[in-house]
Symmetry: C2
Subunit: 524 residues, 2 copies
C-alpha cells in the first residue's frame, strides 16, 4: 500500500526539510490531512548541487535513454492506480473524472516528449559545409544544434495538480531536452506531489537514470522558491501560476548577477468577441458553450473566458444568466483562491455600472462559489482598466457595447492574453477587423470556439504577450515547449568524433537537417 | 554631391533634434567634423508613434514586398559609392579595405534577409488538421507560425559602423520579419549613420514602403536610448556594445510595467585553449594566427581572443611576443575606447603576477595603441577573477598553467563567452575534456581556428551565456537572427481566407511545413 511520508525528495533520497510545518487540506471541509515541512536554503543547495553533478552524466545520454526514463515515469504514475486519483481529489476536489483525464494528459505528455527525445529532430540541426577555396577567404565548416542548458526549476501550479505540476509539461519538456529538473511543489497538493515523486523514484531505480536529475522540494512559504530562483547553478525557470508569483520570479531572475530566462505562464481573461448578427442567430448555443467554458473546473483554468465583448443584447444576457445558473457548481482549490475570488467579486459589484446578472449569496466560509455572470456597458468598461483583470473562478463579464466600432476599440485596449475568440460568421467584415488587434495581443486565436481545452500538439501555442506570459515567443504546451530549455551551440571545423551524433556527416539519427540552407535527411 | 545635414531621420522626414550638440571626430587627430544634435523624448515619441502607425500597414505586406525594400536599401548603400567609405573612414579610422569589406557584408546581409523574407519558410509553419470524430473529444484544426512583434529598437555598435549599425544585421532581420525599426545611432560615427539613413530614405521613396517603418535617432547622451527602451509602444530591443550598456538596457526592459525582450550582444574574452604537444609542434604558426586575430581591426571585435590558456611554454611566449610586435598597428575608434583601454592595461600591469611581455609606451593622448601580450600563471589567474574580464583593444593574456588539469580547471571557471577555441590535435583526450566545459559557456566552439571572422550563414551562432549575450538561446548573426523579432501565433479553426498565406491549405508559398508533425511541402 502506498503511504505518504511528508518528506521531500532530493536526488534519490527522502529528506525531512528544516522549515515550518504545513498540511494537505481537503477543500470541501478544509480538514487538515498529512503534514509536510517546507524546504529552505539548505535543501535548495543540496538539490542544485546534485543536479549540477548529475548533469555532467545526463548530458552524455542519448535521446533514447532519456525517452526510456520518461516512459518509465509515465508507467509508474499509472501504476499508482486509484490511490493517486483519491489522494489528489482529497486535496483538490477536482473530482475523479477530471483527474483521471488529467492523469491521461500527464502520461501522454511524458510519452510525447519521450518520442520527441528519441526521434531527435527537435534539435534543429543545421550544417554548412566548408569551402576551402572560397575567395577572398575560405569558409569554415559550421554545424549548429540545440543543446540542453543545465538545471531547470519548475514551479508547479495549483489548478493542474498533475499536468502542470511535478511530472507536468514543464518537467517533461525540460527533461526531454536533457536537463535536470528541481520541482518546487505547490502547497495546495503536497500529497499528490509526493506520490508523483515516488513514481520518479521507482523509474530512477528501474532505469538507472542519474538520481540528481530530479528533485521535489515541498514548501508552503516563499523561501525555497526565492532561493531556487537566485541559485547561481540554476539555468532556467518554468512557472505556471498567478501574475504576482510569475512577475516576482521574473524580477528575481532579471536582477541576478547572471540573469536567467523565466518561462512563466500567468493566465489571462481570454476575451471572446461575439458579433451581433451571429448572436441573434445562435445566441442560445453560444450561451451554452460559453458558460460551459467559464464554469469548467470551477473556472480555475488560465484559459477561462472572463470577458465577452458584444453589442448590447438583452436576449443573450438572459440566455447567459440561465446557462450560468444551469451549469454545475464545483469547489475551489484552496482558501487562498476563495479569498481572492471574494475580493474579485466585491471589486466587480462595487464598480460603477457593473451589474451582477445572477446575483447569489456566496458563503464566505464555503469553498463552492456561485457561477457568476456580470454585465457592464462598453463605455464603463473602457473607463475602468481593472475590469480587464482576471478574476480567477467561474466568473465572466459581458461587455455590452454601443456598436461594432466600440467592440474594435475594446479589442485594441486589452493587454496580453493567452487566447482571443471570435464568433462572427454572420457579421461580414468583423473578423477581418478584429484579427490584427488579436494578433498583437494573444497567443492563440479561436474561431467559433471557446478557449478552455488546450490541445497538446505541434501547432499549439500556449502563451502570449505579458501579462499572459513572460516570454511571448515560446509555448508551454505542445511539442515546441522543449525549445524553452535548450540553446543553440555551433561547432566550427569540429572533428566528426567530437560532434554530437545529430551533426555527424552520416546523419545516423535520420533526422531532417538544414544542409547548406536546405532541409533534407540526406547525409553530408 | 552627398552632403551631411546633421539632422535625424524620423519616418520620412529630416528633423533637427532639440538636444545638445555633438561632433563627428576623426580618431587619428580627434579633429571635430560635422555637428549633430541629440534626440530627446520628443523625437523618440514621434518615431514610435510613426512606427506603430506604419506597422498597421507593414504587417499586411507579403515577404516579397519587404524583400524588394531591403534590396533597394542595399542598392542605395552601394550607390553612395566612395563617399560612404571616405566619410566612414574619417569617423572610424578603420581604413578603406576593411570598410569596403564591411559594406559588402552589410549589403550581403540585407539581400540575404530579403531572400529569407521572400522565400517565407522562416515562419516555421505548422498545421494540425481537425479530427471531428475523435473520442472522447473532437480535435480542432490548429495552425501556427511566426509573426512580427511590432516596433523594434536597434542600438548601433561603434566597432561595426556599417554591419552592426543603421542597416546592420539587427535592422535587416527585424525588418525582414515585418517589424518597423528605430535605430539609435552610435555617436562615434554619426555622419556614416546619416548617409545610410539617406539610403533608406531613397529606398522608401522608390519602393513606396511605409515611411514610419524606419527612423534614425542621432544621440550622444543616454536620454534617447533610455526613453526608447521605456516607451510603451516598443516591443523588442537589439543591441551590440558594451556589457555596461547592454546590462543597463536589460534592467530597464525588465523593470517596465510590460517587460520586453532585449537581444544584447555584449562581447567576451573568447578563450583559446592550446594543448602542450600541439604548441610544441605548431607553436610558431599558432602565434602568427592568434596574434593576427588579436590585432585585427585594432582588437576592436567582440570575438577578439583576449585569453590563451596553455601549459607554461617560454618558447611559445617568445613566438607570441614577436608576432604581436610584427602585427600592424591601427587606430582606436574613439577617445572613450582609448580611455577604457588605458584603464585595462593599467589594471593588468598592476595585478600581482601579471607580466607585460612586450611592454611599450602608450602615448595616452594618441589613439594608436601598442599590440600587447601579457602573461600570468594559472594560479595567479584563478586567484584574480577580474583577469577574465574583457580589455577591448589589441590585447591578449597568456595563462601559463602548471598542467592540463589546470587548463581544465580554468575552462570550468570562466563566465559566458561568444566563442571558445581548441587547438589540441596532438594532445589526445584534451579536446574531449574541454568540450563539455565550453558547451556550457560559449555559443560557438572552434577547432584549430581563431574566433574573429563570423561567417554569415544558417549554421552560425553568434551569442552565448551572459555576459556574452543577454539571451543565450538566440543568435545575432546568420539566418536565424530573424527569429528574435517574431513570435508564434496559433489559429484555431480559422477560415481559409482569414489565415496568413503561409498556413493556407494549398501551400501557395511552397514552403516546408510541419503537417500533423511531419515536415513536408505538400498541400493539406
Amino acid at each position: 500500500m502506498t503511504t505518504i511520508s511528508g518528506h521531500s525528495y532530493i536526488a534519490g533520497e527522502w529528506v525531512t526539510p528544516g522549515g515550518a510545518a504545513f498540511y494537505s487540506l481537503d477543500p470541501r471541509d478544509e480538514a487538515p490531512g498529512q503534514g509536510f515541512r517546507s524546504c529552505e536554503k539548505m535543501e535548495v543547495d543540496r538539490a542544485l548541487t546534485a543536479a549540477e553533478r548529475a548533469y555532467t552524466h545526463m548530458r552524455t545520454l542519448d535521446g533514447r535513454t532519456i525517452a526510456a526514463f520518461l516512459k518509465a515515469v509515465a508507467d509508474e504514475i499509472e501504476a499508482l492506480g486509484d490511490t493517486l486519483i483519491e489522494v489528489c481529489d482529497r486535496e483538490t476536489a477536482l473530482g475523479p473524472v477530471r483527474l483521471a483525464g488529467e492523469r491521461g494528459r500527464t502520461t501522454g505528455q511524458l510519452r510525447a516528449f519521450a518520442d520527441i527525445a528519441a526521434q531527435g529532430e527537435w534539435v534543429q540541426a543545421s550544417i554548412d559545409t566548408a569551402m576551402p577555396d572560397r575567395q577572398p577567404l575560405p569558409k569554415s565548416d559550421l554545424r549548429r544544434m540545440l543543446r540542453p542548458v543545465g538545471p531547470v526549476a519548475v514551479f508547479g501550479a495549483s489548478n493542474f495538480p498533475l499536468a502542470f505540476s511535478v511530472a507536468g509539461g514543464d518537467t517533461a519538456s525540460a527533461l526531454a531536452a536533457g536537463n535536470p529538473v528541481i520541482v518546487k511543489g505547490h502547497p495546495s497538493h503536497p500529497a499528490t506531489s509526493e506520490l508523483v515523486a515516488q513514481a520518479f523514484d521507482r523509474a530512477i531505480v528501474s532505469t538507472g537514470f542519474p538520481a540528481g536529475c530530479f528533485s521535489l522540494l515541498q514548501s508552503a512559504g516563499h523561501e525555497a522558491g526565492v532561493e531556487l530562483a537566485r541559485h547561481p547553478g540554476l539555468q532556467a525557470i518554468g512557472f505556471t501560476g498567478s501574475l504576482a508569483g510569475g512577475r516576482a520570479l521574473m524580477d528575481i531572475a532579471a536582477a541576478r548577477p547572471r540573469p536567467i530566462p523565466v518561462f512563466a505562464e500567468m493566465g489571462s481573461v481570454n476575451p471572446v468577441f461575439l458579433g451581433p448578427e451571429t448572436l441573434a442567430r445562435t445566441g442560445e448555443a453560444i450561451a451554452t458553450g460559453l458558460s460551459g467554458s467559464v464554469c469548467m473546473g470551477t473556472g480555475q483554468f488560465c484559459t477561462s473566458p472572463g470577458l465577452a465583448i458584444m453589442v448590447a443584447d438583452e436576449v443573450f444576457e438572459g440566455h447567459m444568466r440561465r446557462a450560468m445558473d444551469a451549469a454545475p457548481r464545483g469547489y475551489l482549490l484552496n482558501p487562498g483562491i476563495r479569498d481572492a475570488l471574494i475580493q474579485g467579486l466585491d471589486r466587480l459589484t462595487n464598480t460603477d455600472g457593473v451589474e451582477w446578472l445572477n446575483e447569489t449569496d456566496f458563503d464566505a466560509n464555503g469553498m463552492s462559489p456561485p457561477n457568476a455572470v456580470f454585465r457592464v456597458s462598453g463605455d464603463a468598461f473602457l473607463a475602468e482598466r481593472r475590469l480587464a483583470e482576471e478574476v480567477f473562478g467561474p466568473v465572466t463579464l459581458l461587455v455590452a457595447c454601443r456598436d461594432q466600432e466600440q467592440m474594435l476599440h475594446i479589442a485594441t485596449s486589452l493587454d496580453g492574453n493567452l487566447t482571443g475568440a471570435i464568433h462572427a460568421d454572420d457579421d461580414p467584415g468583423l473578423s477581418d477587423r478584429l484579427l490584427p488587434a488579436l494578433e498583437d495581443r494573444v497567443g492563440r486565436i479561436i474561431f467559433n470556439g471557446y478557449p478552455t481545452g488546450v490541445e497538446v500538439c505541434p501547432s499549439q501555442q500556449h502563451g502570449g504577450p505579458f501579462p499572459a506570459a513572460s516570454d511571448a515567443a515560446s509555448t508551454s504546451v505542445g511539442t515546441d515547449a522543449i525549445l524553452r530549455f535548450a540553446r543553440f551551440i555551433a561547432y566550427q571545423d569540429a572533428p566528426q568524433e567530437l560532434l554530437p551524433v545529430a551533426l555527424r556527416d552520416a546523419n545516423p539519427l535520420g533526422i531532417h537537417r538544414r544542409l547548406n540552407g536546405r532541409l533534407t535527411r540526406k547525409p553530408v
